[in-house]
């Protein structure tokens, strides 16, 4: 556990899966065995100064995949990368602190945990890190997934295939509930649920508020601009229980009740 590598890996594929969204697959035999849901890698992109933090989307044997959206110069260059190899630093971050006996054998133990009711809440590309989480959890649960419009909804089939209940919302109403996913959470969440949330800051703030009101426990994956990804630059500090913590090293997963927004 908690081993990280700074290595060059072979790119297996780097394909557009729908408009502006790409899946990068690399053969990373050194690192694949150490990847845990909620962790990320810093990806070197030629032509931009800093590496980019990208969540682990999936791990299959010695292959690690990333899902990213073109949002600026770095991700644009990444989507057009022609080289055969790519330099990655990782896996980084603490990953989701899963309750005992909830994850498949590669994570913790085999037995199912009674009463564990996972609820994943994803916004936008936040779906990537929770997809890897859902794939590793033994217990099936419910995915609440909000995106801008129908064309921004990803991985629905993958969640369906592994038996998750899916509830979606889109801001333009082109699929599912119209509006933000957080609008429909209060009536649906139960006090015994365990939340796993990954998405934009306003969404996480709203989830924190709902979780507090309904006394529901859970975890949120935070995102800040990072320079190093390992805790050296202290650029990604966040307030956790009144203390400065590094999103990259102490997080990026924090207990929802500990986050001071």
């Amino acid at each position: 556990m908690n081993k990280k590598f700074d290595k060059s890996y072979r790119i297996i594929s780097n394909k557009e899966i729908c408009t502006d969204y790409f899946e990068l697959k690399v053969k990373a035999p050194a690192a694949a065995g150490y990847c845990y849901p909620g962790q990320f890698f810093m990806i070197s992109i030629p032509g931009v100064f800093l590496r980019r933090p990208v969540s682990i989307y999936d791990v299959k044997k010695d292959t690690v995949s990333f899902l990213y959206k073109i949002t600026g110069k770095g991700t644009k260059i990444l989507s057009e990368i022609k080289s055969e190899t790519i330099q990655l630093l990782g896996p980084l971050g603490n990953g989701y602190d899963l309750p005992p006996n909830t994850a498949s054998s590669s994570l913790k133990s085999e037995k199912k945990s009674p009463g564990f009711s996972p609820v994943i809440i994803a916004g936008g590309t936040g779906i990537a890190s929770v997809h890897f989480l859902a794939a590793k959890l033994k217990t099936r649960g419910t995915l609440y997934y909000g995106a801008r419009s129908k064309k921004d909804l990803l991985c629905l089939n993958k969640f369906r295939k592994i038996g998750w209940k899916i509830i979606v919302s889109t801001e333009d109403g082109s699929k599912g509930h119209k509006g933000y996913i957080t609008n429909i959470l209060p009536e649906n969440l139960k006090s015994g649920d365990t939340l796993f949330a990954c998405g934009p800051m306003p969404m996480l703030k709203k989830i924190l508020q709902i979780a507090k009101e309904k006394n529901i426990r859970g975890f949120a994956s935070l995102e800040e601009i990072m320079a190093c990804g390992v805790g050296n630059c202290q650029g990604c500090a966040v307030k956790i229980k009144g203390q400065n913590k590094m999103t990259c090293k102490d997080g990026s997963i924090f207990k929802i009740e500990d986050i001071d927004f």
Binding site: F49, A227, V230, N232, Q234, C236, V238
Partner: protein
């Protein structure tokens, strides 16, 4: 023929001239599993202050062309916590430790250095007189305050004292000379460059404090100029700092007059760069058939 990379800086021997730069190396063990730390020439710590500081709000980092802006705001655990745990771990690496110190007034610097002076495992103190990210003005812009700090720290420090200066001055060689005359045993040139960037998507500054310090490859030629100018005027040795990404960059600084270099942004991009830079310096010297790095310090002159 074995190439000699060792240097003598202010009376302290370093096995090679490549140091980390303050504020880019945490407390020294975040990357211990990625690179052999004992290969480094020296370790400059995160800047330490008398009291803990929580630093500036988010966002603290903005990438620019060829570098980055930061406004960390000297977040640190304070000198008392520093000497309890990180210092002990750092001193076990087996590389000289240079502790970076900052404060608002002379008394804060001296009190911090007094506490450090009671500890083992510190080779040098570097006074950060040039942080651009605090509400007050940059210390070395107030010459009498800077002189006062250097003089009073020199009285209490058991180890050599280096002054880290800001590049944002009209004549860097005058500033370097002032630091030397106040008693500094060496200087570091330079700290980050005060800079700013605006997001045109929302018309807002990209850093919470609006302005920050710029570092990275984009500042290198300006810092080399600072080292060159200062070297012509002062006798105390210089640590060159600013945008060193390769061994070639480091050699440029040394040719301009630096006795050692510190590497910051390049190690944030990839910790391995620290080791590559050391190896590349050695290759360059071998290629040029030079026995010792000391032979090329400041040999580039205006002819």
């Amino acid at each position: 023929m074995k190439t000699d990379l060792s240097i003598n800086f202010a009376g302290i021997k370093f096995k090679n001239p490549v140091f980390t730069a303050s504020g880019t190396f945490g407390y020294g063990y975040e990357i211990a599993d990625l690179i052999p730390l004992k290969k480094l020439g020296g370790i400059v710590t995160k800047t330490i202050t008398l009291q803990p500081r929580s630093g500036n709000p988010q966002p603290r980092i903005a990438e620019v062309e060829g570098g980055l802006l930061n406004t960390i705001g000297l977040q640190n655990i304070g000198v008392k916590a520093f000497v309890e745990e990180p210092l002990e771990k750092l001193s076990k690496i087996g590389v000289p430790v240079i502790v970076s110190v900052a404060g608002a007034v002379a008394e804060e610097y001296t009190e911090t250095v007094q506490i450090l002076s009671m500890q083992k495992g510190i080779s040098v103190v570097e006074l950060n007189l040039s942080c651009p990210n605090l509400k007050k003005k940059i210390i070395c812009h107030d010459l009498s305050l800077m002189q006062n700090i250097i003089k009073s720290v020199k009285k209490v420090s058991r180890v050599p004292v280096i002054a880290k200066l800001s590049p944002l001055v009209t004549d860097i060689s005058e500033l370097a000379l002032t630091a030397q005359n106040a008693g500094a045993d060496g200087i570091t040139l330079t700290n980050t460059y005060p800079a700013m960037a605006i997001d045109v998507k929302n018309f807002k500054p990209r850093l919470s404090t609006v302005k920050g310090g710029m570092s990275g490859a984009c500042v290198k030629p300006m810092s080399i100029r600072c080292v060159y100018d200062a070297y012509q005027r002062i006798k105390i040795p210089i640590i060159g700092c600013g945008g060193i990404m390769t061994g070639g960059d480091a050699v440029e600084f040394i040719l301009a007059g630096a006795a050692a270099v510190s590497v910051g942004s390049a190690s944030l991009v990839s910790p391995e760069n620290l080791i590559k830079i050391i190896d590349e310096i050695e290759s360059i010297l071998k290629y040029k058939n030079i026995k010792s790095i000391k032979e090329i310090i400041g040999i580039v002159k205006n002819t």
